[in-house]
Symmetry: C2
Amino acid sequence: MTHSLFDTDAPHGEPSRLTAFTGNRLDRDAEHRTEDSLGQALALGGATILAFSGNRLLLKENEGTLDPLFDREELEPLLPDLAGAILLGMRQDGSPRLAVPVQRAAEELSLLFRLTDPRSALRDGLVAEEVLGEVAQAVSLLHWNDANRFCGKCGTRTESRLAGYKRICPACAHMMFPRTDPVVIMLTVDEARDRVLLGRGHHFTPGMYSALAGFVEPAETIEDAVRRETREESGIVTGRVRYHASQPWPMPHSLMIGCYAEALSEDIRIDTQELEDCRWFSRAEVVAMLAADPAGEGPSAPLRGAIAHRLLRDWAEWRR
Amino acid sequence: MTHSLFDTDAPHGEPSRLTAFTGNRLDRDAEHRTEDSLGQALALGGATILAFSGNRLLLKENEGTLDPLFDREELEPLLPDLAGAILLGMRQDGSPRLAVPVQRAAEELSLLFRLTDPRSALRDGLVAEEVLGEVAQAVSLLHWNDANRFCGKCGTRTESRLAGYKRICPACAHMMFPRTDPVVIMLTVDEARDRVLLGRGHHFTPGMYSALAGFVEPAETIEDAVRRETREESGIVTGRVRYHASQPWPMPHSLMIGCYAEALSEDIRIDTQELEDCRWFSRAEVVAMLAADPAGEGPSAPLRGAIAHRLLRDWAEWRR
């Protein structure tokens, strides 16, 4: 029996697939976007469109079902901003899927449609997993385009290019590309005492505890970011780091990098600026949290679909 | 013998430590930067400074040695831009290390100092590993600050805050934070035929072949980015993905995420826009490349210190 580099002792082969916002199956063909991609896609028959008011997706309510897909004609009365349109990619049948911001007032739109941001769409299960991944892609790009309407180098108004994936400054030729912010999120494991470190931010829902997290700093490895953030927020020293899964987190455009960290110390010193509480949880407590009603009394785990949930559940289910 | 989550079959425990630009040992204390951090650091005795002209580090040449460290007094004649100064972090002895852009003309500076960008400093071994990591941090932040001198939302001139880690717009209150671009770089492995996939970009040094790479797209997992980039550039379909190591790459502010990808197909279809060549290399060829003189005739591996070198070498050394 040959040993494979890709064998793993983890309970699931690719845990990234089990997190939310990862259902996107569009062919992005990222290497071949051109200035004509958007026009060609809009001209193709069968183009389907996700429509946004700011970062909120428009859903058509039809006899109790919610439908996020618009065609060109349905979009017209909503005042689409086609110069700000984004080609998300091609569907398996060869038809394009786009994201288009609309300019009609949000108050008017809310009389005609249900409006939802990505977090609410996830929590309330408003769209299919595949569409939820496309919404994440759309919101990340819409937010980035909106935050770069003027050139950071010279202050001139910029223009969208490459179907929404590039902006250029007509004055100084500065080019801007979409931004993705890497964030480490880590479950620190004390293997000798069979327990894990969890914290509560000040704005968490009551009772919920999660893995610690923070932005990767400029010029830092993933492993160093995990150890630094853990030490800064909890005072706990960690050693070895094991990557486990990643997840897009479109609030507005993060890449969550989920890891396990090996605890080398015990005494917690909470950074009260960042955390309201931080403590060790035994295996039995974690199992209870994963089964708990989030609206109940005791501590609860993060939402199923969140990468922190995945880290906790996979630790509890690990083959040993 | 208890099984640990942190045991690995890889030839090195934390391969990220073996890549270049990772020697930074400063205490960044990222969670506690304030408006006063920079002033306090500059007022402290013993502050040492890395000085930059654009993205180039100034090195003092003293009797054949190169010294990158300036004190406040040495900096004065170089016209330091203290409003653009960055607190990199604290050294073990409690003294601060800063990065300061200087405004004296580059032509004048080049008569007094040796000027070097991060890539040349790595290639020519001009500074110690620890300083090289600090230079990576400094260049990433200097570049980001320079690219955001005007507000992307309203075009107003922005101001530096939090010792160089935040910019704010005095007109619309928009806040900007440092940018790090995640890039996947992957060695695709055909385990059945014991070979790996390598390509040559159009601007590579003659004979050099490397792992394929590309930016993570908005709202994409690391694993999906690996499979998409491999398919787009080479036509090769991949399955399982294994994270191996990460590396800061300050040209200008990328985070390289190094993975192995499991080949599921054989026939290469080169994207000639991206690659000049792409082919399979046997184990014997890889071993020869790792030992080859980069200036010689045959194919050679990327620079020692580059994460692509690490991926190749560790595959060759893997315990089987």
